[in-house]
């Protein structure tokens, strides 16, 4: 221990930290509601739990969202909060608002009761008598709500983290509940548990990389504050190897979370195995959050090192787009196909990150919001198409859906077209925004690859549409179960996808304003 540290000091020697509770309120509300949710689980009787948990979670998310709006409305100059641990600034508020709305929509799916998605009792063995009993007793595992709230809290914190320790804690707070939630599917429990194990082991593996990267950066700069690292790197003071290796390992952890190739392999397996509402939550909120963190790290921490990390990022973006689009073509499971599509979209989004400009930032923000709603809507439709064994996820079971229920098939087709980036959908506007930013940022080859990958991707989206509308329906095909909550989620996704395609300017302006001052340091 160095000599300057006094173990025993006089009272008041260590000043109380200054915490901006107002700026942190959205996160605090969500975490508070999560803790309350645990208390409800502890104290409320079984019949009451669901009835208390759902309104509680809704109220919490809504309150946090309203607070976020208020924060954005005040137009106060942003500065770092909580002694520099968190930065609540324009981009962060945009991302947090997006995450909260997307979480609200996901909550509609998670709270769906008419076609329950979650196991009655996670501890009961699949196929055992205990499981039968708990199912017939109509029990539901209501712990999913506090778990989800913890995850959402972590997601809010992740892009706001201004130092690597906070970021690591946020990463774990968002990941740990998700690992558990993945294993709670009501049907096909074996797949669900396998998804949880895989996600957990690989997630833990990746966070070890993240952490080691953070350690190396700490070794380089003597601090884990992003701004300190940036300042130290700006001086170019020795220890370059530490710095660059640290950046690389840190990136591995972040790229894992957003599913960039070659760190993507968990994504198809987990998306397929997890309960579909959780998949929707991961595909929308987690992606937004992970990109937020990535943007902050690269725009604040490593901005001065742009020329060092950009080539590697180029490579990752290119193979992510290509692998995602190409492998999706031969998928036969809808959820798996959407997972690969999500990988491809992560690649498109990375082109916006590579741009490293204000325009790239605002384009990425817009794309995240647009894609989040589209993908949530698509997964919501997946939950509606059911047969005796639960969701009919195999593509062949969707044959002729267009004739059996044209509206649902039409809506799904629309979501797919939006993901393919057809004009008049949000996907087009989003792709346009990030690609034009990348062109301006001198990444034209990347955009060429992106456009080619979109063309390949369009092929498999159209393939699903062809199956739905042109194949003959099976005799015992799945039926479409429409319930108010899920239908609301689909309608919300559809509305946003249309509005952001037809009248995107207000949201583009919003993203532009949010990005105008970039991140605080």
């Amino acid at each position: 221990m160095s000599a300057g540290v006094h173990i025993i000091a006089a009272p008041g020697d260590i000043p109380a930290p200054h915490i901006e509770y107002g700026q942190l309120a959205p996160m605090l509300i969500v975490f508070g509601v999560a803790v309350l949710g645990v208390l409800v689980e502890a104290l409320a009787g079984r019949p009451w739990r669901y009835r208390i948990q759902v309104p509680l979670a809704f109220a919490g998310l809504l309150a946090a969202f309203v607070w976020t709006i208020v924060l954005a409305w005040r137009h106060e100059p942003f500065h770092v909060a909580a002694m520099g641990a968190l930065g609540v600034d324009g981009p962060t508020l945009f991302l947090q608002g997006t995450i909260l709305v997307l979480a609200l929509v996901s909550l509609l799916l998670i709270a769906e009761r008419s076609a329950a998605h979650f196991t009655a009792q996670a501890s009961a063995l699949p196929g055992s008598e205990a499981e039968q009993q708990s199912m017939s007793a109509g029990i539901t595992q209501t712990e999913i709500f506090p778990l989800m709230m913890f995850a959402v809290g972590g997601m809010l914190m992740f892009p706001a983290s201004n130092d690597l320790l906070t970021m690591f804690v946020a990463l774990e707070v968002l990941s740990l509940p998700l690992y558990l939630l993945c294993g709670l599917a009501r049907r096909r429990r074996l797949l669900s548990q396998e998804a949880a194990v895989k996600y957990f082991l690989l997630g833990a593996f990746s966070s070890a990389f993240f952490l080691y990267g953070a350690a190396l950066l700490y070794g380089y700069a003597g601090s884990v504050r992003l701004s300190d690292i940036s300042a130290q790197a700006g001086q170019g003071a020795g220890g370059e190897t530490l710095l660059l290796a640290g950046i690389a390992l840190l990136s591995v952890g972040l790229l894992f979370k957003l599913g960039a190739v070659p760190f993507h392999m968990w994504k198809p397996d987990v998306y397929q195995g997890a309960p579909t509402p959780i998949t929707a939550l991961m595909a929308s909120c987690t992606l937004v959050s992970a990109f937020g963190a990535l943007l902050r790290v690269y725009y604040v921490g490593f901005e001065t090192l742009r020329w060092d990390w950009r080539p590697a990022m180029w490579g990752v973006a290119i193979i992510t787009m290509v692998v995602g689009a190409v492998v999706a073509i031969t998928q036969t499971d809808i959820k798996r196909m959407l997972a690969y599509s999500s990988i491809a979209h992560a690649g498109f989004l990375l082109t916006g990150v590579v741009a490293t400009s204000r325009q790239g930032l605002s384009g990425t923000l817009f794309y995240l919001a647009a894609y989040g709603f589209t993908t949530i809507g698509a997964f919501a439709v997946v939950t509606m198409v059911r047969d005796a064994g639960g969701e009919a996820a195999h593509l062949s079971r969707w044959a002729g859906l267009g004739r059996r229920s044209p509206v649902i098939a039409g809506v799904f087709a629309f979501f797919l077209l939006a993901m393919a980036g057809i004009p008049l959908t949000s996907g087009f506007t989003g792709k346009f925004a990030v690609f034009s930013a990348a062109v301006d940022g001198g990444a034209t080859p990347l955009v060429v690859v992106g456009v080619l990958a979109s063309a390949i991707a369009a092929f498999f989206y159209v393939r699903v549409i062809v199956v739905m509308f042109f194949s003959d329906p099976e005799a015992d095909g799945p039926s479409v179960v429409v319930s108010p909550a899920t239908a609301t989620a689909v309608a919300l996704g559809l509305t946003v996808t249309v509005v952001l395609g037809v009248l995107p300017q207000p949201v583009l302006d919003l993203a532009g304003t949010a990005a105008s001052q970039m991140f605080v340091r």
């Binding site: 082991l201 690989l202 660059l244 290796a245 690389a248 760190f263 492998v327 031969t330 004009p423 300017q505």
Partner: protein
């Protein structure tokens, strides 16, 4: 210039039928009772608006007839800006009148034709949707708007071809139309992207300039870019307008209800390609190679369509072949530059009237013949359905170019313009057009004679009868159009009307007696005479005879599908097998070679996803190593 008066609400044109479609689709069964009336009303409403706009336009000076309606700013990203707006000028108003006019007549006709169908409401909803999309296509003031309408009409067309889904042939035909059209759309998408990348905008005004004076940004780009854009646009036009080599879907599309064939697959949608080429005139004028390609496609299709028309016994398919051929004429004319534009559009409008009349007449015949489409089962229907015979006959005379009727003026104009192009290419193109005229006379006479003349060949239990008034009145109105439209357009001042848009006003004079005109007339008479010898004077067998090589080829659509298969599909599959030496059964939905190649790669790459956590971890570990190495190497 900004639009005023009724033109300022041009969006009503699109909104009315769109609202109709929305009400009918969302209203469901509740609207069954009055759905068809609402649909027809919306279409008529759009026609009235269109007419008012036309009258208002006539009041302006020719130079001031180009009016824009700015709807809203779609979005701005960086220095790219996309505005949504409409463009009302003589070219678009001509289309508006054709679409809403003929469209309304067909709506009325459908009330009778679809009376027995349980899903009549849905049918009208789709028709309204089509009208709205088609109007957007011709009214949009930029390529993206045009493309949205383009996709919209494709969607409506697909829905209507497959309207009777219970028929497997209808479902297959819809699928085929869908797939083939995607090839064309790909061309459009790339063309639009290219324009966006080159000009930073997709607005007609900015790219093409204001009407005939041009002065758009396109004049500043090199010939290479213009040629590339032109060829890609041509690919798009080929898909939508059933031109070689993307013609194969149109014949199958006849599986749809007959009013659909009349409206979409004869009068309006399939002419969108011609509109696209004429609208993009300034691009093509800068790219002679692309222009030449347009004329070649047109000439080849006009012959191929005509030959196919000769071999078909199905009355609708014979007419479909004829549609291909007639659009070939228009495309040919559109490829001739300003000299041909006016004739292309005039022929398009005249064709809209007489071909719609012919199709509706065919529908009327089918209505009386228990939906039998085989002309060998008809014969001598002249006395049974007099009105149908008379109106069909007028349409027939118009299409073969009988002097004085619509087709005569417009087609002669195209033939003359082709010869006027001069040089060897002019002679060849003119020759093709002349030959096409002769074949047209032959196969249309064949249809006429087999259907309405000769002895009766129908079964005992068929009782041919005239159709109800609601069907015959539109027939008569369209027959009037067949009589006069062409002459009115060509002899009238249509050329001057369009001149502010397409230019070249002085070239449009029409001379009654020219050498090509006389040749065309003689060839037409010969064609009719041969048909009379074969089908009018002789007995027509109920079963089709074996026929010569050419007949067999024509019956099989000139082996279009076989050629597609052996040229595109087979080598593609072969390549795939080479590239992917294991059997990839998973790749079943892939239709062409490129896709199969990508699919093969995909099938291979997905095997890397072994399902073992440890191999995933390995990939992450190696990935991390590569990323670290990449960063360090870059720094060295």
């Amino acid at each position: 210039m900004k639009a005023e008066g009724i033109q300022a609400v041009a969006w009503l044109l699109i909104a009315l039928p769109l609202a109709g479609a929305a009400i009918l689709l969302l209203g469901g069964r509740r609207t069954d009772k009055w759905g068809h009336l609402l649909g027809t009303g919306m279409s008529l409403g759009a026609f009235v608006v269109g007419l008012a706009m036309f009258v208002q336009m006539l009041g302006y000076d020719p130079e001031e007839r180009r009016r824009t309606i700015h709807l809203y700013e779609w979005f701005t990203v960086g220095h790219f800006k996309l505005d949504m707006g409409l463009l009302v000028d003589p070219l678009s108003i001509s289309f508006v009148l054709l679409i809403t006019g003929v469209g309304s007549l067909i709506h009325i006709y459908s009330i009778g034709y679809m009376a027995e169908d349980d899903d009549r409401r849905r049918f009208f909803a789709y028709l309204n949707l089509f009208v709205a999309a088609m109007l957007l296509l011709v009214l949009a003031d930029n390529y993206v708007g045009l493309f949205i309408g383009w996709e919209g009409v494709g969607l409506a067309s697909y829905l209507l071809i497959g309207f009777w889904q219970h028929k497997p042939s209808a479902a297959t035909a819809a699928k085929k139309a869908f797939v083939v059209n995607r090839v064309g759309d790909l061309g459009m998408v790339i063309a639009i992207s290219l324009m966006f990348a080159t000009f930073g905008t997709v607005s007609f005004t900015q790219i093409l300039g204001e009407g005939a004076h041009h002065l758009g940004m396109v004049e500043q780009v090199g010939q290479g870019t213009a040629t590339a854009i032109g060829l890609l646009l041509l690919l798009g036009a080929c898909g939508k307008s059933a031109q070689l080599p993307l013609q194969s879907w149109l014949l199958d599309a006849m599986e749809g209800p007959t009013p659909v064939s009349a409206l979409i697959h004869a009068a309006t949608m399939v002419t969108a390609g011609v509109y696209l080429i004429v609208r993009s005139g300034p691009i093509f004028e800068l790219a002679p190679d692309a222009q030449l390609a347009v004329t070649i496609v047109g000439a080849a299709t006009l012959l191929a369509g005509a030959i196919i028309g000769c071999g078909k016994d199905d009355i609708k398919k014979a007419l479909a072949g004829s549609t291909m051929s007639q659009i070939g004429y228009m495309v040919l004319a559109a490829g001739l530059g300003p000299a041909g534009y006016v004739f292309a559009i005039a022929h398009l409008i005249a064709h809209g009237f007489f071909k719609a009349g012919l199709f509706l007449g065919a529908g009327s015949v089918m209505h009386g013949m228990k939906n039998d489409v085989n002309m060998r089962h008809y014969g001598g229907l002249r006395t049974m359905m007099v009105i149908t015979w008379a109106t069909f006959g007028l349409g027939y005379l118009a299409i073969i170019g009988f002097p004085g009727l619509s087709g005569f003026f417009t087609k002669e104009g195209i033939i003359a313009a082709a010869f006027d192009k001069g040089g060897t290419s002019g002679m060849i193109l003119g020759g093709c057009a002349l030959l096409g005229a002769a074949i047209t006379a032959y196969y249309m006479s064949r249809v006429m004679f087999m259907t309405f003349y000769g002895e009766r060949r129908w079964e005992e239990d068929v009782h041919p009868h005239e159709s109800p008034k609601v069907m015959t009145v539109p027939l008569m109105l369209l027959a009037l159009g067949s009589l006069f439209a062409g002459g009115f357009l060509v002899l009238g001042s249509f050329g001057h009307f369009l001149e502010p848009v397409v230019g070249g006003g002085e070239a449009h004079g029409f001379h009654l007696i020219t050498a090509p005109g006389i040749a065309a007339f003689v060839l037409m008479v010969i064609g009719v005479a041969i048909a009379w010898r074969q089908y009018g004077a002789r007995k027509v067998p109920r079963e089709a005879p074996a026929g010569s090589f050419l007949t067999v080829a024509a019956r099989k659509d000139l082996y279009g599908d076989a050629i597609n298969e052996s040229l595109i599909m087979r080598p593609g599959q072969w390549l795939t097998r080479l590239a992917v030496y294991f059997d990839n059964k998973g790749v079943d939905g892939l239709v062409n070679g490129l896709a199969a190649g990508v699919g093969g790669t995909s099938g291979r790459v997905r095997r890397l996803q072994t399902g073992f956590v440890r191999s995933y971890a390995l990939s992450m570990f190696l990935g991390a190593a590569v990323v670290v190495a990449a960063l360090l190497v870059v720094n060295v």
